[in-house]
Amino acid sequence: MHELRYVGGSYPVHDVAQKVTGELVYGSDFTLPGMLHAKLVLSPIAHGLVKRVDASRAEALPEVVRVFSCVDSPMTTFCRARIHPGQDLVAHDETLFSEHVRFVGDRVAAVVATTRAAAVAAAALVEVEYEELPALLTVEQALSRRDVAIHPGGNLVYEYEVEKGAARAVEGAVVVESVTSTPRVHHAALEPHVCIAQGHGGGGMTVWTTSQGSYAARTVIAELLGLEYHRVRVVKLPMGGSFGGKTEYIVEPVVAFLARELRRPVKLLLDREECIRATMVRPATCTGITTTCTRDGRLLDFEAVSTLDAGAYASSTPDYGIHMTKKVTKAYRVPHYRHLSRTVLTNTPVAGAARGWGAPEMAVAVETHMDRVASALRLDPVEFRLKNLVEPSDIDLVTGLSLGEARVRECLRRGADAFDWTTRRARPVGRGRYRRGVGVAVGAHKNGMYGAFPEASNMALKMNEDGTFELSASLHDPGCGVITVMKVIVGEVLGVHPDLIAAGEADTAVTPFDYGTYGSRVTYVVGACAERVAREVRARLLEAAADLLREPVERLHVRDGAVWVKDDHERSIAYRDIAVLSGMRHVPSISAAVTYFATSNPASYSVQFAEVEVDCATGLTAVTDFLAVGDVGRAVNRGMCEAQFRGAVQMGIGYALCEQVVVDEAGRSGVAGFKNYHIVNAPDMPEVQVLLVEHEGDDGPFGAKSVGEIATVPTAPAVVNAVNHALATQLSELPLTPERILAALRGREVSA
């Protein structure tokens, strides 16, 4: 490959200048003239039927425009997780407002008022009478109480089983079992969910959203409201984080409905408590694993059963269950693999998409299990994994797709060296109050949806009259630098600085179809589309230059914003001059539009190493050192790629140690805000070293693969394994709160 000029550099996010001055208008800052404010009325009970709604006191307030509720609104159902009208496996089980409330936080009504304060005050005045039904708050309750159906069709909403390969009996094989559970967690994007919509005369509407998929939002809204798609324009606004929490359409349908009914602009901005209780959480899971291994440490058989708590609506959790079965064989060679996943409805907060889509959950189960096997075989955890990890070009046993340039072994080897694993693992953990341990974990994730869903993107790119460029694409930047990545890729192909390329975000009325920021597809699929469209424009640019320079195209190349004649360092023509001169001739605009189809789905990998110190007196765990190694193919924007790992590790440490949305016996979440939902803060974060493994060979732009999701996949199990090393425990119920750690140490001597 030729030397890269811009790819691999480090660039701030594209709107950094507006972010440091406070001038960027986020969704929550967005206003329109005459805009009304909505506030939701949420169910305070976990399961029941609405008998009566009395909004008279609320509607008596002068600022209140109207109250909508389940007794006077359409009962059309929708699926919040849908991204395409032709999609399978979507449960249309939700309505705008619920007569049958299924969790604490279910929407019962919405108050619309001229000010936010009035809407909040009026919502408290809406009286709702309920008839309570038995609340099923755990998966066990939901499966045993067949007499209580959260939705018609039963509480076991989906089962998926995969079996591949053949079991081989080996004498003296070692069987190891484990059961692991992971909590439901809050995404904790700093900006709460928000949506603004305006109904237009003539039946159309515009919706401004901070979501990860504008076309997906449109399919949900248009079908629900019975509007033709071309009458619904969805515009993506700058957003303060998502992590999957804004890939499903929860506030958008409601706001679109209110705006259409009232023919006024309406804004709904949730508060933190509503975000935690009434949007969605990462599903709680429980996975039992049984493996069989030869005595020298080769996996023979891997069997797993995963149970996912979908909460009160199915949402994307059944798909999540499918994807949990597709993680193990991306990382490990297993002759026989069987995995059953079961998705169960409960009367708890709705679960759905979260960074990693089942991979972090499975990584906790698999990687804590692998440490148990290593321990049973008296093998070092790194050594044991090296006996079983996949090699480049292996076929994924479950999906049948090539894993591509899978460099997971290289990640593990180089990481173990950089972390000084062997020495640190051999160090005594200590016998006093503070115990120190190290742990390692492997994670694997995908690159887009190819293999499960038609995977493609569309883009148009044009050269402006002054030689600058504009990319038209339905990009959705959650804040991690999606737009910058596209600019760097296009800049590399065209030989211009990325800042000479403008790229905006999705606007369904303007930008071509794309699914959005889903499934680790952005760099690998959307980025490849950007590379292709830039190559098309480069070809047209070279043709125009060839014409002007009276040189064959083969003699020309691009560099530094100009076309140069090869082997002639004197002759060049700047893009600006090409744009002007060819524009005056017969090429009014140098531009191209392409559709790119992905035809591969290699794996991205991360191997992470944690050092922890556990205080045996308080049960508190401090992560004292951390190394994240990533097989990302190619870092397009190096600084931001590394930054993704550091942020992902913050999220994973919280998953391992403290984050959890608990639900009490009445189904109420004990978590009402950041006061009792702790995400790791600056003093508690270790310095995270990042080591990137880069190579060519996969179909992404310049070899690049996904990073945002894989970066958090193995973090939690690395921390848990380190705690288990420090304490000689086999803890596998997350999070490892001080209470759980103290319970595990009970009865043991701890010298001061």
């Binding site: 480090s10 701030p12 200048a17 994007a189 004197e570 060049s572 942020g647 805000g673």
Partner: protein, 197 residues
């Protein structure tokens, strides 16, 4: 009720609801939307502003409590378009991703540097303990604050290029350009002839 205060150096007088929070007056009345509301309970720090030089969660303070005092928001950090050193270092060190915590981070860091111009890394982390970030893992933010206090490490990011500089970066060599112009001119002529015919 009437409220008099100074915001970003400008004296302001306005009619407010006595129960209004400072964040609402800043965002809704003064259109200073830099301060963000991430939790409304003083836990996330996104709404941090300076009141008489001290970092304050503007969601926990009544506007009336700021009477007669000097409030600085993120919009007041840059002077006549010139970024404050802290803002500049946040850009250079890649301390910004989604950016929703950034205004609060900047103001907490500003309060720290006003009190302690050469903080240790621990001082910085403790000063930012009340500012949550879900994107960065804090490293780049801490490095940026350190750099702003003169403890510079190697900046992580390439700065956004100066548009003026970029526009002049590529120039055609004069001879080639003149020849190309001639080609364009000549190529245009026969067409005109064709039109005449």
């Amino acid at each position: 009720m009437r409220l008099q205060l100074t915001v970003n150096g400008t004296p302001r007088g306005l009619e407010i609801d006595p129960t209004a929070r400072l964040i609402d007056v800043l965002r809704d009345e003064l259109q200073l939307t830099g301060a963000k509301e991430g939790c409304g309970e003083g836990e996330c720090g996104a709404c941090t502003v300076l009141v008489d030089g001290k970092a304050v969660a503007s969601c926990l303070m009544l506007a009336v409590q700021a009477r007669g005092r000097e409030v600085v928001t993120v919009e007041g950090l840059a002077v006549e378009g010139e970024l404050d050193t802290l803002q500049q270092k946040f850009v250079e060190y890649g301390a910004v991703q989604c950016g929703f915590c950034t205004p609060g981070m900047l103001m907490s860091a500003k309060a720290l540097l006003l009190q302690n111009p050469t903080p240790s890394e621990r001082d910085i982390r403790v000063a930012l303990a009340g500012n949550l970030c879900r994107c960065t893992g804090y490293s780049a933010i801490v490095a940026a604050v350190k750099a702003a206090s003169g403890q510079e490490a190697a900046p992580l990011m390439e700065l956004p290029a100066d548009p003026g500089e970029l526009a002049t970066e590529a120039t055609s060599d004069p001879e080639t350009l003149e020849a190309a112009r001639e080609v364009a001119r000549r190529a245009a002529e026969p067409r005109r002839d064709e039109e005449v015919e």
